[in-house]
Amino acid sequence: MSAGTEKDRSGKNSASSGLDDRRSTVNRLSAENVTLAYDQRVIAEQLSVEIPDNSFTVIVGPNACGKSTLLRALSRMLKPSEGRVLLDGQVIQSMPAKKVARTLGLLPQSSIAPDGITVADLVGRGRYPHQGILRQWSAEDERVVRESMTQTGVAELAERYVDELSGGQRQRVWIAMALAQQTPLLLLDEPTTYLDIQHQIDVLDLCADLHEEQGRTLVAVLHDLNHAARYATHLIALRGGKVVAQGAPKDIVTAGLVEEVFGLRCQVIDDPETGTPLIVPAARRARAAAGDRDAARKAVATGAS
């Protein structure tokens, strides 16, 4: 709700002042003309992305398109070599680390559960940005940890050791830790990887609940285009470090887009369960035939020129 008023206020600002600068504060999180690189290897250049407030934004794209890199930049794990990432109108790198951590949470791909830690202890570590040397464990911390475990369905595992849990349970525990951080924005890097199908749906349902019931803004990188189309309210399709399309899945997911982004011929039909777009890859024969046709057309074209 507070995010909503924020949006209204800044929306009014942009209308009344008409300053270009204000545009960046419409949404709480955005990247402006960022160039992202690891050492010398450039992943994306001049990339601009807005994360709409209160959305469940999903970033999709083929391997190595820069989607995880973009998420790292949005969560200040990676400093853009050019351009800037703005959080609430401020350059994210210039903000105090704990203040960012109270606004924006991240569930990275690589996380290590310390040896012999219990679920409750691990979830409790999510309270770190709210604590200090003299304020180590308030009643509020205890309440939030309990709530986070209940929301993710791991409350009954509280006293179990994290190493004893299954992959799906463990992912829920990590999500509970990120929830205990109590951030209005939550970024998740491939939260369903390595999970079997029912746990993937489980985690995505949980994300949808967090988005719908608590009004959190979620940004996730997902591999599965059908999951993305079903759960996202806002989809960002990346290819080669560029945004190819963005918008509501039902508006932008077409056979043409899938071919452009993933290089895959397919049909897009209505998901019989939800009515969202459902991608059905073309049969192998059809794809092979199409490939031949394309090659023939190219041969004709080059012959003609």
Partner: protein, 345 residues
């Protein structure tokens, strides 16, 4: 199983205590102090524990007073401080490298300090104080070299361990070369130094070590909450608002200083830095770096080992490094086997 207790004041202050860890710390402190009293009473003129305590509070007779405060107390204090520094330094290194093998013994800090000490002994025939300075400089240079070589977008565990092993091998070769260059008197002195010994340590060694601990221990503990978060990986901890690189740098520098100055004071006492954190962790059974428990464990271990080295073999006294080396070596083998079984190496 759950041993955490939160203590809260009406003013909104709250402290979280791990009861089991606290108990372990208190017991280890008691063990270290008991061993110290026994050690002070041990020697050519045995003094009973009651007399030692009486002398320490200033009510002993003149003879005992001299033996206790001038001869034996400083040695025990150096032992306690060296053990505490090594225990804490080892815990820091192991937590930063996220690997029990990432301790100063394996990383070559001890060898680096040895190289510094040998340089002073062999090339300059320096005094004991100069040897200590040489060892300190050697340790710091080695620590710096390891950090620079292992740094690539942040220091990471395995790289730190592997670079450390490489540096350790190089420095060991340098030490071998220095030893072959030395004459017999220097060589004998060098070998005693290299084993690690508390013989003849007096107040001159106590003060600098104590001063360093007084500065570094609070600094380290102030950063320990960040270090605890860093156990979960760099990404998770920085997402939680830990300034990972800064915490790591502060703690690595502190760990190098603690280890190097302990080595300068007592020689490279083997394996205390490796074993203390692991033993402490098994006693507290709590995740996290267990810094305070490791510190107390190091102090207790070293003083006990010093007592064993003086008593166990009759009149032939051994340097304390021999005892910690034997105990620590057996422990290292056991650790390697269990780590291998757990599939971590």
């Amino acid at each position: 199983m759950k041993t955490h207790r939160a203590v809260r004041t009406p003013g909104g202050l709250s402290v979280r205590l791990d009861v089991r860890a606290l108990t372990v710390v208190v017991l280890l402190l008691l063990a270290a102090l008991t061993a110290s009293v026994v050690l002070i009473g041990t020697g050519d003129f045995p003094i009973s524990a009651a007399d030692v305590l009486r002398t320490l509070v200033g009510e002993g007779d003149a003879g005992q007073e001299f033996i206790v405060t001038e001869l034996r107390l400083p040695r025990v204090l150096v032992g306690l401080l060296v053990g505490a520094s090594l225990g804490l330094g080892g815990a820091l290194f192991q937590a930063i490298s996220r690997n029990p093998l990432g301790s100063p013994d394996v990383l070559g800090l001890g060898q680096g300090a040895t190289a510094g000490a040998l340089t002073v002994i062999v090339l300059f025939s320096g005094t004991a104080d100069q040897v200590a300075v040489g060892a300190l400089v050697g340790g710091l240079v080695t620590g710096f070299a390891i950090y620079v070589l292992a740094w690539k977008r942040g220091v990471h565990g395995y790289r730190l361990v592997l670079v450390g092993i490489g540096v350790s091998a190089i420095v060991t070769a340098v030490n071998g070369y220095l030893l072959t260059k030395s004459d017999i008197v220097d060589a004998a002195r060098a070998v005693v130094w290299m084993t690690g010994s508390l013989d003849g340590r007096d107040w001159a060694q106590v003060w600098p070590l104590l001063a360093l601990c007084v500065v570094l221990v609070p600094l380290v503990l102030a950063n320990s909450r960040g270090l605890r978060m860093m156990e979960m990986g760099d990404d998770v901890s920085s997402a939680l608002g830990v300034r990972v690189e800064r915490v790591r740098l502060v703690l690595l520098v502190s760990a190098v200083l603690l280890t190097a100055s302990a080595t300068a004071a007592a020689g490279p006492v083997a394996f205390v830095a490796l074993t203390s954190p692991q033993l402490a962790r098994r006693l507290t059974r709590s995740p996290g770096p267990n810094l305070v428990a490791s510190l107390c464990m190091g102090a207790a271990l070293l003083v006990t080992a010093d007592w064993v080295s003086q008593r166990a073999f009759g009149t032939d006294q051994l340097p304390v490094g021999v005892v910690t080396g034997v105990v620590g070596g057996v422990y290292l083998l056991w650790l390697l086997v269990t780590e291998r079984r757990a599939g971590r190496i």
